[in-house]
Symmetry: C2
Subunit: 161 residues, 2 copies
DNA sequence: TATTGTTATACTCTATAACTATA
DNA sequence: TATAGTTATAGAGTATAACAATA
């Protein structure tokens, strides 16, 4: 019993062992989400290896992703990463030691340290983002009709969020 | 320059700072993927907190997810997690200490140890899977028409994979 | 007083290398 | 010899608590 197959006895295609959130969820949202869930966890599983292509840990990859739009206070980064501020110190220490980011004291509030990418950091981030943006096989193999529909659906969903 | 905005000057709606993989990617797959990417990374960001609801680390949550379908050799689990076998020892030590899983020596090959969920482990896994299967707000808010289309598209994609 | 970032500490996750017990 | 799992070790990610500098 996994507490998730209730309320439906419709037959379900068995997917690889990775998931058994059965597709027979009660409603339409559950059905759609269960299928997306599959794609999503495949991506999560591959993310460390993807980051490693750039000699980054998964968290370091997230940091570089966040650091695209100009300077960011360390506390803001901690909030984005949903982690304690004390972690950001060590995280930034290591990225700074590699010459990818720099700490700059804010002039408005001298407690605050702003993070900016170095040139090397920006270059690496560019390659990382391009890699992240490359559609995985499952997406690349979709017919144009489905891709256009998917794009339009996701546009609407993200807009009304 | 992030190496990703090339080849298109169509106007793009700015989303929250979390991503700047611009939506104007060259082709349909890039456009669709970029939008899915947004949803996906929100989920990844929330995953540790979600696991913590059950007093599990993210990896422990993945282990419980994998351990649904009967016994699993430790080496198989290491493969699923894409990590070294030595990690699985400690990982399983902690889950076993909490009474969630058990090691059982295989009778065919006495080198192999099979992992099985205890009753408590299965119960916890059930609640975890139900939680994971609950559609996030962005999905829950979609109109039925979009949900049905999304479900059908993802069914086709996962089937032809 | 409150906030930003750091340090100290402890635990988990991760990889590598050396070891054991089986095969 | 090769494989499954363990142990030892080291580095990175995480949280909590105590602290310095600044507001």
């Amino acid at each position: 019993m996994n507490g998730f197959s209730d309320g439906s006895s419709e037959q379900v295609t068995r997917r690889p062992a990775s998931t058994d959130v059965s597709e027979g969820g009660s409603g339409l949202p559950e059905q759609a989400w269960t299928l997306l869930f599959e794609l999503l966890h495949t991506h999560m599983r591959n993310f460390p290896a993807l980051a490693a292509e750039f000699e980054l840990s998964p968290v370091q990859a997230h940091v570089l992703r966040q650091l695209g739009e100009g300077a960011l206070a360390m506390s803001t980064l901690a909030h984005y990463l949903s982690c304690d501020a004390s972690n950001v110190t060590g995280l930034v220490d290591r990225l700074e030691a590699r010459g990818l980011v720099e700490r700059k004291s804010s002039e408005q509030d001298r407690r605050v340290k702003m993070l900016v990418l170095t040139e090397a950091g920006a270059e690496l981030r560019g390659r990382l983002m391009a890699r992240l943006g490359a559609p995985p096989p499952l997406i690349a193999a979709m017919p144009d009709e489905d891709l256009a529909a998917l794009r339009d659906i996701m546009r609407r969903a993200l807009k009304t969020q």
